[in-house]
């Protein structure tokens, strides 16, 4: 049963960048993580700790230097060319020469061979993210929030096993951001995707997630895990509940200690 077996499992995963010197720079080390079907997991941590790198490694954009990655119990490399993950980038990853619809269709290119089927799928997901009527708009004609909706629709349209989101709301203003968080909650409730969500905003992580993972300073590894047992459905009011504030404080403390251990705030 898929409910007992994790969708994604990372065992002792490490990653390095080629540094300026002879030695490669260790970005991630000893990551052990297992994500259940339908779980929403957030990753927070000091900037430069390798959160984004982990998503890239999981998605195969970057090789792991050690350890193994299992998807549905199989080594990620062997799962082959099947599209198992959707990736929502920070910003600016919509192709400016394609309309919303065509941007969503990009992921379906070469996968769904019947053009009409692909079209239907793309429209369905644009509708899900609330963009019906904007199918033929170019990205420059859309607001930042709407662009990220297209981004999300594109990732969902390929029906991924896992949805990876790399600070998708980082470029949005505070108001739009709060609104998009609620929208994401709604969409997630409807699709029940397994999500790994990278953010530097603790409140965002707590509001959205079943579990928040705190990364250590570079080389990044898991410093703490925190289960978020806040009842769902959650809304704006969730953010002012004592339980929420308590969790936020708890996680903040972990990060604060982490930054102190690493040599103070000025240095990261």
């Amino acid at each position: 049963m898929t409910t007992t077996r994790p969708v994604l499992e990372l065992r002792n995963v490490g990653a390095t960048f080629p540094g300026t010197g002879k030695e490669p720079v260790q970005i991630l080390t000893n990551i052990n993580l297992s994500v259940r079907e339908g779980e929403f997991v957030s990753i927070v941590g000091p900037s430069g700790c390798g959160k984004t790198t982990m998503l890239r490694v999981v998605n195969g954009l970057m090789p792991a230097s050690s350890g193994e990655i299992l998807i549905d119990g199989e080594a990620a490399g062997q799962v082959g060319d099947q599209l198992l993950m959707g990736f929502v980038f920070q910003a600016a990853s919509l192709l400016p020469w394609r309309t919303s619809l065509k941007n969503v269709l990009l992921g379906l290119e070469g996968r769904v061979h019947d053009g009409r089927d692909a079209d239907e799928i793309a429209r369905k997901y644009l509708d899900l993210v609330g963009l019906t009527g904007f199918e033929n708009h170019y990205p420059h004609q859309l607001s930042g929030g709407m662009q990220q909706r297209v981004n999300l629709a594109r990732a969902l349209a390929v029906n991924p096993r896992i949805l990876l989101m790399d600070e998708p709301f980082a470029a949005l203003d505070a108001q739009t951001r709060s609104f998009m968080q609620l929208e994401l909650l709604r969409i997630w409730t409807q699709t029940r995707k397994t999500v790994i969500f990278v953010t530097h905003m603790i409140a965002e992580a707590v509001l959205l997630s079943d579990r928040v993972i705190v990364f250590s300073h570079r080389p990044g590894t898991i410093r703490a895990e925190c289960n978020v047992s806040l009842p769902r459905p959650r809304d704006m009011d969730t953010k002012s509940s004592p339980q929420f504030l308590d969790l936020e404080k708890q996680i903040w403390k972990q990060i604060e200690e982490e930054v102190r251990d690493a040599g103070g705030f000025g240095q990261s």
């Binding site: 954009l61 060319d81 599209l83 993950m85 990736f87 192709l95 400016p96 020469w97 992921g107 290119e109």
Partner: protein, 261 residues
């Protein structure tokens, strides 16, 4: 935005008044300052001569036709060769490094200097003239295709990897449209360079063509005809630019407006 919102009509008026002012200045210079038709013909004289050459005798048309043919062959051939070559060079580092010294040399050297050599090789016929135009057009296109491909946003390429696009799809859906504005800018440059090539090619031992017309008129001190030839070249250049602009408008609708929107 430097000058706020300017309406389309106002912009047209601005352009027209610039043209009229230029023509008036020319006329003033010719009639009041120089006062010698053998040195500087006035716009009216040129217009009269143009009327004569197009309507009365029709002597302009064979020249126009000959020059146009040479331009289209050379220009078209350069697109057929330079665009794919630019893609190939951009996608393989080795090929680029290997070809780069020669491309740079050929691009920066004055193309006109090669004309006599080509005439020497290919003889005084269509072949040598087309070759001159071809060379003049090829390098701006080649370099722009290459650089267009090199500056494609890395994120777009990652996106293609994320969604497991094939190499062909990466080219067709990402690299090609991303570099299209650069390619068209190269084509625009090629129009100007190609027309220069036509003029140069026809100066050396041709018996027809606009370049020949200008050269011959210059030798025989036929100033109005000289100016008609130059004006026709200018007209061709403007027409070429306008065609490329329309292609840009159609092919890159996402760039509509630019900073002045």
């Amino acid at each position: 935005m430097v000058d706020g919102r300017v309406s389309a009509t106002a912009r047209t008026i601005l352009r027209l008044s610039s043209v009229v002012a230029g023509l008036l200045g020319w006329h003033y210079l010719a009639v009041v300052v120089v006062k010698d038709g053998g040195v500087l013909a006035s716009p009216l004289e040129v217009l009269a001569r143009a009327y004569e050459m197009t309507v009365v005798t029709g002597e302009l048309y064979p020249h126009l036709f000959a020059s146009s043919m040479i331009f289209f062959y050379g220009f078209g051939l350069s697109l057929i060769v330079a665009v794919p070559l630019g893609f190939v060079l951009a996608s393989t580092r080795l090929a680029w490094d290997y070809a780069n010294p020669w491309i740079t040399a050929a691009y920066t050297a004055p193309g006109v200097a090669f004309a006599p050599i080509l005439l020497f090789w290919f003889g005084i016929g269509t072949g040598s003239k087309v070759a001159i135009v071809f060379l003049a057009c090829s390098f701006p296109v080649l370099l722009n295709v290459y650089h267009g491909m090199r500056v494609v946003n890395r994120e777009y390429v990652e996106l293609a990897r994320c969604y497991r696009l094939t190499r062909w799809a990466l080219f067709r859906h990402i690299l090609l449209p991303a570099s299209l504005p650069f390619i068209l800018a190269g084509v625009r440059l090629a129009v100007g360079r190609g027309l220069t090539g036509v003029a140069v090619a026809e100066w050396f031992g041709a018996s027809e063509g606009l370049g020949y017309l200008i050269f011959f008129a210059g030798q025989t001190l036929n100033v109005p005809t000289l100016f008609v030839g130059v004006a026709v070249f200018t007209g061709l250049g403007i027409a070429g630019f306008e065609i490329v602009r329309q292609v840009e408008k159609y092919a890159t609708p996402w760039l509509a407006g630019g900073p002045w929107k």
